[in-house]
């Protein structure tokens, strides 16, 4: 049956019944004596009203009360009509009053309901009364068992009709099923409350009929009380029932929630279902907060399910926002009435706004995660209980949702991390930087499905942002070059912070022309390792709002990994490069170490450098320390023409500013363009066609030994720091090789010179004769130094000139000239030599570059080099050689050899001199020794002993033998000859002369001739020997010991002293002359007698002429004095005393004359 027809029928039914009842009453109204029963009827009506008021609900819309008791009592007392009327009135009044008070329904409905109620009550009363009467019921004045049956009938009818009427009404509304449901729900309560108390109505009747008003009032009061009690109990019972059902619902809900999977959507559905069991959820909203966004998970409108929708900014607005903030539910009974009192305005607008609603926040812990709101078009559709129940369910669900959310988030995270890990693993395996970039962008796009992914890298050298890879194959580098700070990517690169722009149209930093046309949202993250930004990872989407925090998280994590991978790849690349450079240098080292020749080494270096460094030209210049110029050594990459030009190049300081700079600063320089043109000679630049030049110093032990020039033909070709460093490595190797080669060459040089000098030394050392040595030297020197002529002069100190000693290679004329030349101070060349300086006499030659260091040039006609031969700073001679041209490289060596030879010769000269001197010395020594021996042998071994006489002698040879001697020999007649003499010579000749003299005197005296005659004879013998150089002073005396006489003659000798015993002194003078000078000498002869105690002292001039430090002579006076003083003593004592005295007098001064003493004393 259609709704329309149902409601129509309902109307009809209700009104029909109403009218029927009222009509019936109206008809039968005449039967009632209204005036009599008016007042009690009113009383009963009131009572009925009151009791009705104390009714309770079991099912919504149905009120139970004890009113039927009153109504039935009225019926029994006053008859069916009156009773019916009362019931009608009370019913009507009650409903109207209630409607008036509450205003929940439209008037028409209320009136209809009241009408029906009243009508039904009337009909019930009439029918029940009729049947009662029919059943034999009376007025009921006396109660008895016979009244039971009719009463039962009455009660049954009343009860049945009531329920029938209402049941029918339900049936019309919702069909027989609804009616049955209604009845089922109602009858237990009805039975208890409405049927059972009906018998109590009898009591009321009975009491009323007794006429005792007081008791009746008490009864009425009691009934009211009971009704109230019943009402209370019923309410309580209802509440209990409600609670139970609530708990049940909660429990069911809780179980359901627990059982539910941790799925947010499922949970929302569950809430919806549970709520539906509590209230009418034909208008149901369940939404969750996500930041500012409010997403409706369950949306039911008029029982029609709507799709889920998100409202980006709705989370804080309206009642929903209020709930979020206040965490409180809201029950709205009637929007129309309470609109102004609402804490917030509802934010939704619809054509058919609801009348009542219930709003419940979903609270999980401290946070409101969502809201639930149910609306109804009927006002007051929801109760506080509903609110409470829904709140509890909602909160439980909220906890579950939150858990589900967290779980979902965790799962999401886990998934993301797994993806990130996947990508990272793949990325980390790539070491090639380029491949890395490409792989990364494609992997990211594949894994996460972004519209476009690109990578920009920051060049570590230039700090520029360069495009590296993109998922768009059409993109190429030149199109998308960005400056640092330009665009989103540039900003990210500069700041090192990520940037998320979910709507690029609102992002001021977005640069359209760089972007891809379909981009709506962009997310760029920096690729950072520690604090360094290596690049930018850029992701774009063609939808706005495509990127969430999740995406940011994913990309940042990925970016970190990618950054590390980039760093690794870069390090790897750097390592590779290093390895390559090291290998290159090793190659160079290997190549150069095998070669010992410097030219080969340099040629290899200039050849390898272009290969290894990729340059076009390479050349090396060596620095000549002597000449102070850069000389070309090797070059590569040149044509023959260029090579010729190269070999003529020469850079003195000032010729090429760049080279000077490099030489002084010892650091490399890169030149190109104008700078190059101004620092290097233009001819060179043009000839060699160089546009870009790198000049490196070749340093060995901190000194510049050369430069390496490396060049590009193209100006644009660059010398990066790495290239320069590599070429520097090669340059260092070259420098080391150069130094080694130079050392080696120097060693060779030294070896050569040493060998040459060794030869000279050998030749010279094996000879002792100076002439021989010098002639060897002049022969060897030309061979060793490659000259034709060599001459040696010796310096004559006495004459003050150089005397020719040896010559070699001279022509005859030159020889003639040589042997007659005696150059001295006047010769300019020799003057230098005398000063100890080598000198060169050259004809004036301005182009003679190679003047040797330390050699004085002297103007001359022939080119001659003169070297001093000096030993111990004394110039002993000079050596002259031809001054021929020698190549520059060998000049030093040549000079070294010559100087060495000169030194050796000088030493040889000195040595021979010394040797000679020494030999001379030794010869002298030897001579002296022989002389001394001879002398000693000729002196008497001991003094003869004469009785009555004492005789002693002392002979001290001087350092240089002087030739003194004394002699004793026996003469006939027991006489003694005494001789003292002085040969005026020294050394061996003196000794020989002494021997001769002694012999001569002995010979001439032996036969007893007088002293004068003897000496004269001796003189004759000496003179007769024409070759004799003998001069000798002789004192000869003959002693006659018996007579005590001393006869004597003196040939030029110091007259002996005679000291008498009394101290008187006499000189035994006798005229004479030294023997050996003239023929036929005249000698005086004298005689003297000696007494006891008299002394005769014979001496030589070594005694009297002994000098002290002041050149004072000891003198005769002192001698006399000593002898006088010591005359008492024995001759040996006297001799000792004289000796002492002389020694003391002389001190340290060495004596050069012999010291001879003979002392004769007469002791008896």
């Amino acid at each position: 049956m259609k709704q329309r027809s149902r409601s129509l029928l309902l109307h009809l039914y209700s009104i029909g019944v109403g009218l029927a009842g009222m009509g019936a009453l109206a008809i039968l109204a005449g039967r009632v004596p209204w005036t009599q029963v008016g007042l009690p009827l009113v009383f009963f009506a009131l009572l009925s009203l009151i009791i009705k008021r104390a009714g309770f609900h079991v099912t919504p819309g149905v009120t139970h009360s004890l009113v039927s008791m009153v109504d039935v009592a009225t019926l029994l007392i006053f008859g069916p009509v009156a009773g019916g009327t009362v019931a009608l009135i009370s019913g009507l009044a009650y409903l109207l009053l209630r409607a008036f008070r509450h205003q929940t329904r439209p008037w028409i409905e209320t009136l209809e309901a009241a009408l029906f109620n009243a009508g039904l009550k009337a009909l019930m009363a009439l029918a029940s009364g009729w049947l009662y009467t029919l059943a034999g019921g009376g007025d009921f004045l006396v109660a008895g068992l016979s009244d039971v049956f009719p009463l039962l009938v009455l009660f049954a009818t009343w009860f049945t009709l009531d329920h029938l009427g209402w049941g029918l009404r339900e049936g019309i509304q919702g069909g027989p099923r609804q009616a049955m449901a209604f009845l089922r729900a109602v009858w237990p309560t009805s039975l208890l409350v409405e049927l059972c108390p009906l018998p109590a109505a009898v009591i009321v009747v009975f009491v009323y009929n007794q006429g005792n008003w007081f008791v009746f009032l008490l009864l009425s009061a009691g009934i009211v009380a009971v009704a109230l009690v019943v009402q209370r109990l019923a309410d309580a019972w209802q509440q209990v029932k409600r609670r139970l059902s609530e708990l049940d619902a909660l429990s069911r809900a809780g179980q359901a929630i627990v059982r539910a999977q941790l799925d947010v959507d499922q949970l929302c559905e569950l809430i919806y279902q549970q709520a539906s069991q509590i209230v009418d959820t034909s208008s149901f909203h369940l939404g969750l907060f996500d930041g500012d966004t409010y997403t409706l998970k369950i949306w039911v409108r008029d029982n029609v399910r709507q799709p889920s929708q998100s409202f980006p900014r709705a989370a804080n607005e309206g009642i929903i926002g209020w709930m979020r903030r206040s965490k409180q539910p809201l029950l709205v009974r009637d929007f129309q009435q309470e609109m102004d009192a609402l804490p917030a305005r509802p934010s939704y607008v619809s054509e058919h706004p609801p009348r009542s609603a219930i709003f419940v926040p979903l609270i999980a812990g401290e946070e409101v995660i969502g809201t639930m709101s149910i609306q109804s078009y009927t006002p007051a559709a929801f109760s506080e209980d509903d609110l409470r129940l829904l709140s509890v369910i909602g909160n439980e669900a909220a906890m579950a949702i939150e858990k589900a959310r967290l779980y979902a988030m965790a799962q999401r995270r886990a998934r993301q991390l797994a993806l990130i890990g996947d990508v990272s693993r793949k990325v980390a395996a790539i070491l090639e930087l380029e491949e890395l970039f490409t792989q990364v962008v494609h992997l990211i796009q594949e894994t996460f499905g972004y519209y476009h992914v690109g990578i920009f890298a920051i060049d570590p050298d230039t700090n520029e942002l360069t495009f590296e890879a993109s998922t768009n194959p059409d993109l190429c580098q030149p199109c998308v070059n960005l400056e640092m700070g330009e665009g989103i990517i540039g900003w990210v690169a500069q700041e090192g912070q990520p940037l998320l722009a979910n709507d690029v149209s609102t992002e001021p930093r977005f640069r359209h022309e760089h972007a891809w046309p379909q981009t709506r949202a962009e997310l760029a993250v920096p690729l950072k390792v520690e604090e360094r930004v290596l690049g930018v990872l850029d992701v774009q989407s063609n939808e706005t709002g495509a990127f969430s925090d999740d995406d940011l998280f994913i990309l940042q994590t990925l970016a970190a990994q990618v950054a590390i991978a980039i760093e690794d790849a870069r390090l790897y690349a750097a390592q590779q490069e290093e390895v390559w450079v090291t290998t290159a240098l090793l190659q160079v080292a290997e190549a150069t170490s095998k070669l010992s020749n410097l030219d080969d080494v340099l040629a290899t270096v200039v050849r390898l450098t272009p290969l290894l460094a990729g340059v076009d030209r390479c050349s090396i210049f060596l620095w000549d320390r002597n000449a102070q110029v850069f000389l070309p050594a090797q070059a590569h990459g040149l044509t023959r023409e260029q090579k010729k030009l190269f070999s003529t190049l020469r850079f003195a300081p000032g010729d090429a500013l760049a080279l000077d700079e490099v030489r002084l600063t010892k650091s490399p320089r890169i030149l190109s363009g104008d700078e190059l043109a101004s620092s290097m000679p233009s001819t060179m630049i043009e000839m060699f066609d160089i546009r870009n030049l790198l000049i490196l110093p070749l340093l060995a032990r901190g000194k510049v030994v050369g430069v390496m020039l490396v060049g590009y033909i193209e100006e644009s070709a660059g010398f990066t720091a790495r290239k320069v460093s590599m070429i520097s490595g090669i340059a260092n190797q070259a420098a080391i090789a150069i130094e080694n080669a130079q050392l080696y060459a120097a060693q060779q040089e030294e070896a050569y010179v040493s060998t040459a000098l060794l030869q000279v030394a050998e030749a010279v050392g094996s000879r002792t004769d100076l002439e021989d040595i010098l002639s060897t030297v002049v022969r060897i020197t030309p061979i060793l130094v490659g000259v034709k002529r060599c001459t040696i002069f010796l310096w004559d100190d006495d004459e003050g000139v150089f005397v020719p000693a040896q010559a070699y290679g001279l022509s005859e004329d030159q020889k003639e000239w040589f042997w007659h030349s005696r150059p001295g101070q006047d010769d300019p060349l020799m003057r230098e030599v005398l000063a100890g300086r080598p000198a060169v006499s050259v004809p004036d030659d301005p182009h003679n570059h190679w003047l040797l260091a330390g050699v004085t040039p002297v103007p001359g006609t022939l080119p001659i080099l003169a070297l001093p031969l000096s030993a111990k700073r004394k110039v002993l001679g000079a050596m002259l050689v031809d001054y021929v041209g020698a190549p520059e490289r060998f000049a030093e060596r040549w000079m070294n050899i010559l100087t060495g030879i000169a030194n050796q010769t000088a030493i040889a000269i000195e040595n021979t001199r010394l040797y000679r001197q020494e030999a001379e010395q030794e010869r002298l020594e030897r001579e002296l020794e022989v002389a001394r021996e001879i002398q000693a042998s000729f002196l008497p071994e001991h003094c003869p002993s004469l009785p009555g006489w004492e005789l002693d002698a002392y002979w001290q040879a001087a350092h240089q033998v002087g030739g003194d001697f004394y002699d004793f020999f026996s003469l006939p007649d027991d006489r003694l000859g005494l001789v003292i003499a002085d040969v005026a010579d020294k050394g061996v000749p003196a000794a020989l002369f002494m021997a001769l003299s002694r012999t001569l005197v002995r010979v001439t005296a032996h036969d007893g001739r007088s002293p004068a005659k003897a000496l004269q004879r001796a003189n004759d013998l000496i003179i007769s020997d024409a070759h004799s150089d003998l001069f000798v002073s002789v004192f000869y005396a003959i002693l006659d010991p018996q007579a005590g006489t001393l006869t004597y003659a003196n040939g030029g000798h110091n007259p002996p002293l005679l000291i008498r015993h009394n101290g008187q002194v006499e000189s035994l003078r006798a005229r004479g002359v030294v023997l050996g000078i003239v023929e036929h000498i005249e000698l005086e002869e004298k005689c003297v007698t000696l007494e006891t105690g008299d002394l005769v002292v014979l001496y030589t001039d070594g005694v009297t002429d002994a000098i002290n430090a002041d050149e004072e002579e000891f003198g005769l006076a002192r001698l006399t004095e000593v002898i006088q003083r010591t005359r008492e003593r024995s001759p040996s004592d006297i001799i000792a005393a004289i000796n002492d005295e002389v020694m003391t007098f002389v001190g340290d001064v060495p004596q050069f004359d012999d010291f001879t003493l003979v002392v004769l004393k007469r002791v008896e």
Binding site: G962, D1029, P1055, D1101
Partner: protein
């Protein structure tokens, strides 16, 4: 000890022997005398004005030089002998052999006429 021509007589070669002419210095005198003789100077005058002593060696040198000079037609004379030298000459008896003069002028003119 170099000699010089006499200012009085250019043909006379004067050798001034000064100081203490002992065994050490005698060779110097000897060398000077020999050098002069080698140079053909046979008129020799030995000036002893500054001489403090004459050893037997120097005496011998004088005598040898005198002999050589005389063999070439010249002579050797002494002049200005100090007392000590005189004494030595007397002891040795050479005063009778050698010609002694008081002054150089005297000696020179005596030599010149040899």
């Amino acid at each position: 000890m170099n000699g010089h021509a006499s200012s009085y007589q250019p043909g006379v070669w004067v050798i001034e022997a000064g100081g203490r002419i002992d065994a050490m210095h005698a060779p110097v005198l000897e060398a000077a005398l020999q050098r002069a003789l080698a140079q053909g100077k046979y008129r020799l005058l030995v000036h002893l004005g500054q001489a403090r002593y004459l050893s037997s060696h120097s005496l011998k040198a004088l005598l040898v030089a005198r002999q050589k000079a005389r063999s070439h037609g010249g002579d050797l004379v002494l002049c200005c002998t100090p007392p000590r030298v005189q004494e030595i000459l007397e002891i040795t008896g050479l005063t009778q052999i050698l010609s002694l003069y008081e002054s150089e002028e005297e000696a020179a003119s005596a030599l010149a006429s040899v």
